[in-house]
Amino acid sequence: MWPTLTAYALAAGLLLVLSHALPRLLPGDFVSAHWQGGEVVLDADRAAALRERFGTAEILGGYLSALARGDWGRSLALDRPVLGLIGAALPWTLLLMGSAHLLSTIGGFLAGVEVAWRRGSSLEKGSVAAMSLLNGVPELVSGLLLLLLFALRLEWLPASGAQTAYAEFSGTAWLADLLRHLALPLLTLVLAYLPGNFLLARASMLLVISAPYLETARAKGLPPWRVRYRHGARNALLPLVTRFGLRFSLMVTGALVVETLFAYPGLGRLLVEAVAQRDLPLARGIILFSSLSVLALNLGVDLLYRCLDPRVNHGC
């Protein structure tokens, strides 16, 4: 328990210090980087005024206490508080990522359990081969193919955005519009996450199937679905929970690509734009916020895992 908490605290500390130190390690500051060698020539007064406005000369302690007070700075390009911008973009990312995770975890788990139950059938062989091939296809490839086919060639679904601009829908029309915009990015992410969950659920279910207690459950005359889920699948669930946490850190890149590709107004797109515009406070804020959230999520999964499986504690 304590080693885990220490590791997470260390990781969070490392991120905080890095986000403060990295910009400082490089020569020059924002003002000289932006106006140097450009067509605009700054005189000393203007340069001093700009430094005053955009200056980030505080020491680590001041930086951390400002973060704790909720003062995350102002975006240079959009001239609005970083925390407000994050708050506006976050719901879209949560909607997209949350539903993708939910669908791919539940779908992958159920399909994996069912397929493991039908071990040796042609359905099993075919689906395992297909999922192995799909596993590891980056979101960039699957997303572009989906965009090309369904949005650009067939024109069934919108290619960008989260809502139709200026449409002012209400009620069911609003919901339908929302879902139509969600469909392609969501499908891309589900295609990326489902195969891994499926393969893992199948593998761990195969280990469970040969256990003697399943034989007992069957011998008691329980209905097959009860044997499969109450007795079997429950024990095959654990690896999936671990994976849920560990995969998060790798998924961030894919989420960035998907939001950029479909111009979805979430955190990822905001971050990519901030990077393109060299908007340090905004980029730093989003990076810090999302990294710390992923860390917190991982910690939560870790603790949940201990509750689910008391055996884990023996190792520590």
Binding site: A11, E139, L140, G254, V275, D279, L280, A283, I287
Partner: protein, 277 residues
Amino acid sequence: MGVELRRLFDNAWLRIGGALLTLLLATALLGPWLSPHDPQAMTFVPLSPPDGSHWLGVNDAGMDLLAELLYGLRNTLSFGLVGGFSALALGVAVGLIAAWFGGAVDAVCMRLADVLLAIPLVMPLLLLAVLAPPSPLLLALLLALLSWPSTARGIRAQALSLRNRPHVAAARQMGGSASYILGKHLLPELAPLFLAGFAGKVRMALAMEASLAFLGLFEPGRKSLGQTLRDAIQYYYLDIWWHWLLPPLLCLSLLILSLTLLAVGCEARFDPRLKEG
């Protein structure tokens, strides 16, 4: 050796994947000779469709797209190989050291792995990119520095079980040094494990390169499959999808496919648990 190689390629997945990857590698290696034009020359009519001199047409900046594709494949593939190999080497080294020395060394290595696994890889890279576009080599090495833990964990688990086998114990009793036993016994015996891991790591690294280039993290003049995709998608409303968007997409898909086939083939070949299934 011949028999060994024949047995290695018995597996259909391995054979197809190996052939595909060899073809792509050869294309990448021969790129400069196959390329009909200088990839940096901006002297052609921008946005012109394919014709006899430009098989894939010309992009918005007046550069030949076939040359761009060949050089992009070269850059993406070499980034994948460098990043994948260094991640693997680092992971194997840390895993072996942790398993062999145990105790405090093991604890520190594995805690470090936990920390790195919990941090989203791409975030530190992005923070760096805001400040200055990093060089590809630096980025590949940083990627390796951040992605070794999964390999290290697998290698450590296997090395721990190998450590107590009789032949390793015998080697220790005869006074074999740590480096001798690690290099002569553990490394070769774990080779199958990291062969499969290598294909997976290369796949991860080159997908990462394409994604990062697509997001605009590299300098725009560098050729990459991801960069070509990024440029092409700006002109989605023109009829360019089949000669500008599709070829790099196809190349990237084939690269990923061949590496997946190799990784799955290796696993099926070397992991007896999977073979039963």
